[in-house]
């Protein structure tokens, strides 16, 4: 049983580590690559749609005027980390939040 568990865990860890390595290898250094991000129907949505979809997955969305532009910058980065947003999703959502504020 122990061997089975260790083997399963090792395979899962290796799979995730491998995926991580591939991602590191194929991503653009410096995090400026919104344009270099692979095209996707998901990320080709507008900022308003991405905002509604990504926020709505977990919670109600804040009122747009509840935070200043500077605060939205912080909140968007916080959610980028917490909700695994891509760079392009983050940029589009933030642009929408600032334009609507």
């Amino acid at each position: 049983m122990n061997r089975k568990i260790k083997l399963s865990a090792a395979i899962a860890a290796l799979a995730l580590a491998g995926a991580g390595s591939i991602l590191v290898g194929c991503s653009t250094p410096g995090g400026k690559g919104a344009a270099a991000t692979p095209k996707s129907a998901l990320v080709e949505r507008g900022g308003a749609e991405l905002w509604a979809e990504n926020c709505g997955h977990c919670h109600n969305s804040r009122s747009l005027d509840s935070l200043s532009d500077a605060q939205w910058e912080v909140a968007a980065m916080h959610m980028r980390v917490r909700a695994n947003l891509t760079a392009q999703e983050h940029d589009k959502i933030l642009a929408f939040l600032k334009s609507a504020n």
Partner: protein, 444 residues
Amino acid sequence: MKSRKSIVAVSLLAAATMGMAQEQADKEVVTIPKEQYQKLLDEHRMLVEEMKEMKAFKAKFEESRAKALTQQADTDQALDQLTKDTRDAKALAKEALPGTSKLLLTGYGTAGFNSQERGGDRKFYATFNPLLVWKLSDKLLFEGEFEAQLEGGGTSLALEMAQLSYVANDYVTIGAGKFLNPMNYFVERQHMAWVNKLPDKPLAVYDGLLPETQVGMQVRGGVPVGSTKFGYALYAANASALNVDTGTFAPEELGTTTFDNFDNVGRHIAVGGRIGFLPFPELEVGYGFQFSDVAPPQNGDTVNAFLQSVDLSYVRDSATLKGVVNFKAQWAWSHIGGFVYDPGAAIGGPFVFDNSRSGGYVQVAYRPSRVEGPVLKNFEPVFRYDMLNQAKTPTGVDETRYTLGLNYWLGPMSVVKAAYVFDQQNGPNADRRNTVELQFATGF
């Protein structure tokens, strides 16, 4: 034949005669009286003068029109500049407000009341979770959260989170510190009181089979793949400690682990992660795992601990249903390797077992947010089924609950919740405690 020649000759003669007559008419001179000629000449001169005046007027008109257009352009430019200046001034004013630099104070708080049957808890309570988020640069983010709650005769204060994150590139963020457990979907995305649809938290996935926080390092990010998206997290953290002491732990806790092992008793490192997949925006499915060796504080015996979790989230804003359907489900498995508990027979041992437990929840909520009217759209009925299965151990208890809840949203982040929990338990120390739960929760 002769008559044909005569016809052609006559036709030619007629044509020649007509051409000569036309030429005569073109060269004809018309004679008019001198007075009439003078009148026509005067009229011609007058027309020329009028034409000159009209040309002059037209030139002046064009000039003034051009001037007006230039002035309009200047006015438009000035208005644009004014608008821009106003916007800049507003932005400056916003920036000048306290807490609007790169620091965001957010979080949530609750106030509530629980009443359990059969001599259980009956009390009011309050909690406060301030979260400080500090954007140090475009790549660096710090998140710190405290959890303050009333406990016994005082207030307990716990460090819920203290993490520094570095955005390495578009797809990779590296974090270190104390962070919410990435392999546990409910903890990371749903446990906040204003997000959680019910006053209490589901069995097994919270305060049960899976850790709530980790102290260690993680790598995470999101990756679009075609029309879909993946989210991933991989971490290394302090391992849990095995609970074996019959003097400290209740019988049903033997063979479980203490997740808050900040001293890292046993010196083991846990490795875990989660991968989430979004085939379309409304749906996310995920798989999480954690593996480590664990040891009790008192000795160096080691067994392995393997935790797994699958989760599903579906949220759809439906015009047909006139509202938002929110479906969540998560199931967790915990396996702790075989160990000899209570070898001194303090509570009737020794017990030898490997601890395999499982549990999770299924929850559905519906909010008729598209219904007309100011009141009905704010209600949200909720149903949850959750269970914890640990009766396979000699001391464990199975628990199953059905919860009916009704929420009323006062705003996007403020909600009043009411729920009734139907509780069933099986096992050596089983009990049944239905509960009435009321809670006000707000995010800020």
